[in-house]
């Protein structure tokens, strides 16, 4: 149930806000019958599965107070109580039901749905809603960075996230491949092969430009109104939209989806905003950043440091405490170690104190003062570019949430129920803004699509936020699905886990004589549940491609014995998952030394 809402108000609001409201239980055949009726009539209806919440009894008590009916289904049309299954079917058979639904006395708004934020989640939700013939608008506006960088429609992933970073990661892998090619007999002079930063940026930005345009064309063809303006709530049904030239319009809508995403955080130290850049600036930087300091140990920090190092720059990473908070720490450490071997420097347990400009230029030079978190001693060093990657914050503080009554946490995240609904019933939230959800593009897209299906397509399918696979595109890639070893221990108890692991020597690493024990895989299983795989981890080449299929297997309840029964594809790296036989608890050797 939505947070901070007492049950009476919750139930009343559901009845008031929905033309057709069905209180139901997932197991009740009569409920299924009523839902099937509304589906066949092709009218949108909202379902509340009272058996899916903790306070089932309380809700049924409220329904009893309102309608004298404690059982489900309990159906309301335009706020009026119809009754249970029989009463609803009777109303339909007597031809009373549809007229009641159609005689909507409700207020008319400019739109059925306005989506604030045209990123991964917002675009998906708006296009899906328009597919149901709804009148939909999406607002997308990019506030330039302190450096003045700005971009087009599509949100973080396309412009300053997944897409440019993976392409630049690829650029760096190609550089490495050229060097490997020599070992395979190619007559290339790896020393003279040099990357042009400008050409890389141009190629990447051209592709992004084509995506921006593609989104605009899609919205137009699907009849979604695109408004390139900044949206702020005035009340729960009205927003103000202000465009780049300051022109303002007011827009009303029946429903809203908040999907305004996040932006990089700046530390409160002298020189941060004036002289540093973030990932928002990096991917379109018109000049090569030169000697670079990356501050932070998030995946964004390590990925940026990784590809910058990979294209041949002198790169240092300043890390306050641990690498990749939230990820499996054994693997996080391995990633750091590999980057270090690759020539990237780490300042561990240091925080930045101030950034001063020595010379202006593209790049100029900056003096960075850092402080040890252990001894307090200060160090200084000069860099051409400083990239801040210490985290990202939801940009929900300036969108008038208070005017609409939408509750948000202190960090800007918005609590939602399992229907992606905020505490205000006609306002929903998906993607990076939704509290306690994985911050990933496919998650935002899936949530957006399913939300529109529920709001306008009569669907009851909720977004399953569990078992989401992900990949960190560091020079040595890392993918995982399910729990880290730490969270698995916390959830199931260390004694109830069996962890299978192995080092891995990719075949393609043998000829160039790369280390045979750097890559690593791990399967965490629950002994109490038939050795079900609760966490799968892969550190090696093509990590994303490897994990996607295993994620599907885990959705189907993959167990260790099923992994063992699976026949590998030889010669691949992924096949190692089918032959895991050393447990961590045995302390057995996992070293690799050839075929």
């Amino acid at each position: 149930m939505p947070p901070t809402q007492n049950t009476a108000v919750l139930v009343e609001n559901y009845i008031k806000e929905n033309v057709v409201m069905v209180f139901s239980k997932t197991t009740c055949p009569f409920c299924a019958k009523v839902k099937a009726l509304f589906s066949s009539l092709q009218v949108p209806f909202q379902v509340f599965e009272v058996d899916q919440v903790a306070n089932t009894a309380e809700i049924q008590e409220e329904l009893f107070k309102i309608s004298g009916l404690k059982t489900v289904p309990n159906v309301y049309v335009n706020g009026q109580h119809i009754g249970g299954c029989d009463a609803t079917l009777k109303a339909h058979n007597e031809g009373r039901l549809l007229p009641m639904i159609q005689s909507q006395p409700t207020q008319t708004y400019d739109y059925d749905l306005v989506v604030i934020g045209g990123g991964s989640g917002g675009l998906a939700a708006s296009k899906q809603a328009a597919g149901y013939g709804k009148k939909v608008a999406v607002l997308d506006f990019v506030k330039p960075t302190p450096k003045g960088t700005s971009w087009g429609l599509g949100g973080t992933c396309v412009n300053v996230g997944c897409i440019p970073k993976k392409l630049m990661h690829q650029a760096s892998l190609l550089g490495k491949a050229v060097k490997e090619a020599k070992a395979f007999g190619w007559g290339v002079d790896a020393e003279t092969v040099k990357l042009s930063w400008e050409k890389m940026v141009e190629a990447v930005q051209n592709y992004i430009g084509s995506l921006n345009w593609g989104y605009r064309v899609q919205l137009r063809s699907k009849n979604v109104t695109y408004i390139n303006s900044y949206g702020t709530f005035l009340d729960d049904h009205t927003i103000k939209a202000v465009n780049r030239r300051g022109k303002e319009q007011q827009i009303t809508s029946d429903k809203f989806i908040i999907a305004v995403g996040e932006r990089p955080r700046y530390p409160d130290i002298p020189g941060a905003k004036e002289f540093c850049i973030t990932s928002d600036d990096l991917f379109s930087l018109s000049y090569c950043p030169g000697k670079t300091l990356v501050i932070g140990a998030s995946y964004v920090a390590l990925e940026c440091a990784g590809f910058l190092g990979g294209i041949g720059l002198d790169v240092t990473v300043m890390v306050r405490s641990i690498f990749l908070r939230g990820f499996d720490q054994q693997i996080a450490e391995k990633i750091g170690a590999h980057m270090e071997q690759d020539g990237i420097k780490f300042l561990r347990r240091y925080v930045p104190v101030k950034i001063e400009q020595l010379t202006e230029g593209e790049p100029g030079s900056l003096k960075v003062t850092g402080k040890s978190t252990e001894t307090g001693s200060e160090i200084t060093e000069e860099y051409n570019t400083v990239i801040l990657a210490i985290g990202r914050d939801s940009v929900t503080k300036t969108i008038g949430l208070e005017n609409a009554g939408v509750a948000a946490a202190k960090n800007g995240k918005i609590p939602v129920n399992e229907f992606d609904q905020t505490n205000v019933l006609n306002i929903f939230c998906i993607g990076d803004n939704a509290e306690d959800k994985p911050e990933l593009t496919p998650v935002a897209i899936q949530a957006g699509r399913l939300l529109s299906n529920r709001l306008f397509g009569g669907s009851t399918t909720k977004c399953d936020y569990n078992g989401v696979p992900t990949t960190v595109f560091t020079p040595l890639e890392y993918s995982c699905c399910g729990l880290s070893e730490e969270s698995a221990q916390e959830k199931f108890g260390e004694n109830n886990l069996e962890v299978y692991h192995s080092a891995m020597w990719p075949l393609e690493w043998t000829v160039p004589a790369y280390d045979s024990n750097t890559c690593y895989i791990k399967a965490i299983t629950n002994k109490l549940d038939n050795e079900k795989v609760v966490g799968l981890h892969y550190l090696g080449p093509n990590a994303g491609e490897v994990m996607q299929g295993f994620a599907a297997a885990m959705k189907c309840g993959l167990t260790k014995s099923q992994l063992d029964a699976t026949i590998g594809i030889h010669p691949t790296n992924a096949e190692m998952f089918t032959t895991l036989n050393v447990t961590k608890s045995s302390g057995g050797s996992i070293e690799q030394s050839g075929c």
Binding site: N206, G209, S210, W213, R216, V217, R220, S221, N223, N228, N243
Partner: protein, 127 residues
């Protein structure tokens, strides 16, 4: 009324848009496969989309300032060659026919299925 010009091949195209550009015209370009003497095209999609585009010309804003250039790119063989000038010129970089675009905005093209009656106006949007 939007003024219309028909051109054949890359060189003719380039000289026509250069000339119209000097007159500060907004130049809407449509690239299609060649038609033979009896008016049959090797590109069926082009045949379908041409009337859609012609109809939209009636709704073009500031029509007196807009020129429509209908360009026949060549025969099938020429077009399929990945290194032909329409595909490689940095102001065009065509990927398919039919393509509809405004000269000078190589990143804003409507290609094949994207050419629809209610979408074409997006080419004239300011933002």
């Amino acid at each position: 009324m939007v003024q219309e010009f028909k051109v054949q091949g890359f060189d003719e195209f380039l000289s026509k848009v250069t000339e119209l550009d000097k007159q500060n015209k907004v130049i809407l370009c449509m690239f299609c496969g060649d038609k033979d003497a009896s008016g049959n095209s090797w590109c069926p999609d082009c045949v379908v989309k041409e009337p859609v585009v012609r109809k939209a010309l009636g709704d073009v804003p500031n029509a007196e300032n807009v020129a429509f250039v209908y360009c026949s790119v060549g025969g099938r063989e020429y077009w399929k060659d990945r290194s032909n000038q329409f595909r490689t010129d940095k102001n065009l970089k065509l990927t398919g026919v039919p393509t509809l675009m405004i000269w000078g905005r190589p990143n804003e093209k409507l290609v094949e299925d994207q050419i629809k009656a209610d979408v074409i106006s997006i080419l004239f949007d300011q933002d």
